[in-house]
Amino acid sequence: MPYVVETKQLTKRFGRQCAVAGLDLNIAKGEIYGFLGPNGAGKTTTIRMLLGLMKPTSGTIHIFGKDLRKERIDILRKVGSLVESPSYYPHLTAYENLEAWRKISGVAKTRIREVLDIVRLTDAAHKKVKHFSLGMKQRLGIAAALLNEPELIILDEPTNGLDPAGIIEIRELIRRLPAEYGMTVLISSHLLSEIDQIATTVGVLAKGRLIFQDSIEAMRRYAQTHVLIKADRGDRAWQCLLASGIRADWRDGRIVLADPSDERVAQAVRTLVRDGFAIYRVEEEKRALEDIFLQMTEGKAG
């Protein structure tokens, strides 16, 4: 299957420091590819290389099956991007900002209205961008990325600095892109929850290396949560569960169920209640991204 984005052994060094090492990204058409990793993992460096803003130290990048080194301008015609914080010209209005970029890409003038409409900035079109809130600037950045009707859109931390309502709105918008416009989306984030809600495929970057690349379902298996139970006479309760054949651990005064599936949890609770243990809390323990990374890296090593 031809990939929209395909990198081979992509590497970038800054002096002696290796920011990105041997990356093999594969992004298929119509996917929302979640690019996940802690700050400083090399996400932005990778994205900058994909856009031709930085030259790789070694390795190749193919987008739409074309070599980025040879056909950069041709490729960029069909790519939209928002890298790091949104860039804009503060002394110009939203409309003028888009017009400055439109003049270069050469799409129809009516497209400006369309993208302003998509990100719901129509009412603020003729306000200077320096008076915009961060959320509006971010939306303007997304509008700019959509301007040339791209086939591939690259969004680097697009929900940074947005309020919850703004995050939901942007998420809804991104989710619509592949279905309604046939776009392929690459979205980076350092938040697992963010990626988990929209991505169809996930690539995880840690210390410049791609330690995981698979479907979101495979990712969820890694990110599995634990269910903790706090009960009266906890250690006895734990032993009671073990005696009933429910696998569990005893940790910090709590019972940790090995299998967090709904049936198992229900079974465990039923068992404890039946045997007369008072249950104080049944809670889910969300795993920090760092723990998952650790597990992934260990998995690779082992």
Binding site: R48, L51, G52, L53, M54, K55, I73, D74, L76, R77, V79, S81, V83, E84, S85, P86, S87, Y88, Y89, P90, H91, L92, E96, E99, A100, W101, K103, I104, S105, G106, G141, A144, N148
Partner: protein, 236 residues
């Protein structure tokens, strides 16, 4: 492609005072002579038989300074438009060549300065006529003193544009600009190969045209060199 970039650049310099500065420069140069001649016209007219020639020489004394200062301000200003929110990355992720972006910026600046030069000719002519300097207007001399410094200053423009676009910190190009102004002030004692002497149109051959031609030649080379270096670098 370059036409599109040019239009985009023209849009971006709106409301930033670029055109105001382009008018202010030549206006200031002529205004200095308005003060000079306003205070001691009789004395100045007594200095020479050729009143128009003497007047134009007086105007021309400040043209190189205004030009070098203007170049430093405009280049740094133009780069700051992209630097302010790091719009370089947004701009370069569009289907453009880096060389094209660089050339468009140079073209916009050169155009602004050319307009300034034309305004200088206009202002000087108007003020000269107002002073009633007598005799035929020396249009040739007026043209030379208004436009030759612009061509002679092209290498400085190329150098400053390069410094402003590749520097992370605008203190560097400003420093280069200030040094350039100081060098231009002392142009009298500079050797002929120093580009900061060229806008004064003084050279060993005593032929102003050579300064202008040298400026065009060296300016073209420096623009190409700056462009090549700019295109080679990773985007900020």
């Amino acid at each position: 492609m370059i036409g599109r970039l040019w239009k985009a650049e023209c849009l971006k310099i709106r409301r930033k005072g670029f055109w105001f500065l382009a008018v202010l420069g030549p206006f200031g140069v002529v205004a200095l002579q308005a003060v000079n001649y306003g205070l001691r016209k009789d004395y100045l007219l007594a200095q020479s038989e050729d009143d128009w020639g003497y007047y134009l020489a007086n105007v021309g004394a400040f043209t190189p300074l205004a030009l070098v200062l203007g170049i430093a301000i405009l280049t740094s200003f133009l780069a700051s438009i992209e630097n302010e929110t790091n719009a370089w990355k947004q701009l370069m992720a569009l289907p453009v060549s880096k060389a094209g972006v660089y050339l468009a910026k140079f073209a916009v600046l050169a155009c602004l300065l050319l307009v300034s030069s034309a305004l200088l000719a206009g202002f000087a002519l108007a003020h000269g006529l107002f002073l009633d300097l007598g005799g035929a207007v020396p249009y040739g001399d007026l043209f030379r003193r208004s436009f030759y410094p612009f061509f002679a200053a092209l290498p400085i423009l190329a150098l400053q544009l390069w410094a402003a676009t590749v520097s992370q910190n605008q203190a560097t190009p400003i420093t280069v600009g200030v040094l350039g102004v100081i060098l231009t002030l002392t142009a009298h004692d500079l050797p002929d190969w120093m580009i900061w002497k060229w806008p004064t149109l003084r050279n060993g051959w005593d032929e102003p045209l050579f300064s202008a031609l040298l400026g065009i030649a060296a300016g073209s080379l420096l623009v190409l060199a700056g462009m090549a270096d700019f295109a080679r670098r990773d985007v900020k």
